[in-house]
Symmetry: C2
Subunit: 193 residues, 2 copies
């Protein structure tokens, strides 16, 4: 049953986002899924295996969603708005944060393989953002100072921090960041886009 593996990853993923990698145990997964702890080990021999699979699966699904956005909207500004909507859904869940942020905070605790997985995801997301920004700048629909690279890193960092702040301090921390990022890129209020 391939579903079981996915089910384990679903639950482990939720625990990663609500707690942290080192704060959830095989027993937690076992309890929630209703099969024995040893059976979880059957599918993922070590916790590192589980973590690696978790990080890899997240990267694929996340980059896939970004790709969908790129194909659905041709206007870079709309793409950026769709990105904000996408990450905004994490805030709506009420008690989750970005898996990348969760793993980065445990950078010195996780294995090299997991670090690499997080690294690749991080680079890819930033690349996507930089692409959107550069295209938007070229078309004149997104305005910002400095380089698209710097702006991409800023947005990525701000969103990651905002998700963490939002869970601890309330969703307004996210909406404020989203609003301010928009305000800083639409030509300083010279119009509605």
């Amino acid at each position: 049953m391939q579903d079981r593996k996915e089910q384990i990853l679903d639950i482990a993923g939720e625990l990663l986002q609500t707690r942290s990698f080192s704060s959830f145990s095989y027993q937690d997964v076992s309890d929630r899924i209703g099969i024995s702890k040893a059976s979880i080990h059957h599918h993922f021999p070590s916790k590192e295996d589980l973590g690696k699979a978790l990080a890899a699966r997240y990267r694929l699904s996340y980059l896939n969603k970004l790709e969908e956005i790129t194909q659905k909207y041709e206007n870079p500004w709309d793409q950026f708005e769709a990105y904000l909507t996408l990450v905004g859904e994490v805030v709506k869940s009420g008690n989750k944060i970005c898996p990348v942020g969760s793993l980065q905070v445990e950078h010195n605790v996780i294995s090299k393989d997991m670090q690499d997985e997080v690294h690749v995801t991080c680079r890819a997301v930033q690349s996507w953002l930089v692409g959107v920004l550069a295209e938007g700048q070229k078309k004149g629909v997104i305005v910002f100072p400095g380089t698209a690279e710097d702006q991409g890193v800023l947005i990525h960092s701000a969103i990651q921090g905002a998700l963490q702040n939002a869970r601890a301090e309330g969703p307004k921390q996210f909406t404020a960041v989203a609003r301010q990022l928009r305000a800083g890129m639409n030509g300083r209020g010279k119009g509605k886009r």
Copy 2:
């Protein structure tokens, strides 16, 4: 010996910033400090006590540093630059992140008391930033769209995320964010301040 309590907090604080609250143990502190684990319990009966003291001490020292900045520089832009220098020192350490970020990621794992402590610190730092920004806007030395509140939340989130990204991905992630935050607030290159 009051020094011992401080020494424990020093080491626990470093472990909080390099690993995470649930990823370090009394044994870790004991090993590094050279006294038995039971002796650590003598000073901080439970890990929650230790965590609370840690969060409280960090708040006091951090807010003190911000206060020093306010008094040392009268120009809000200089105050903001000093803030960037202050958090930049965390990046220089090579493997630390902001304690607030570390604790926020474990929000669902730590006690209510610790959550409250983090909350107060978070609010105070944002308040300080908003004050600097509002004053800078008034004097015309800091330029940004939207409200000072939103800009303060953006900066706080961006810096927090940047510190995490910088440890995992390298210091350039921080310098890029700092550069871009500056670029977005100095009147769009209309001058050097």
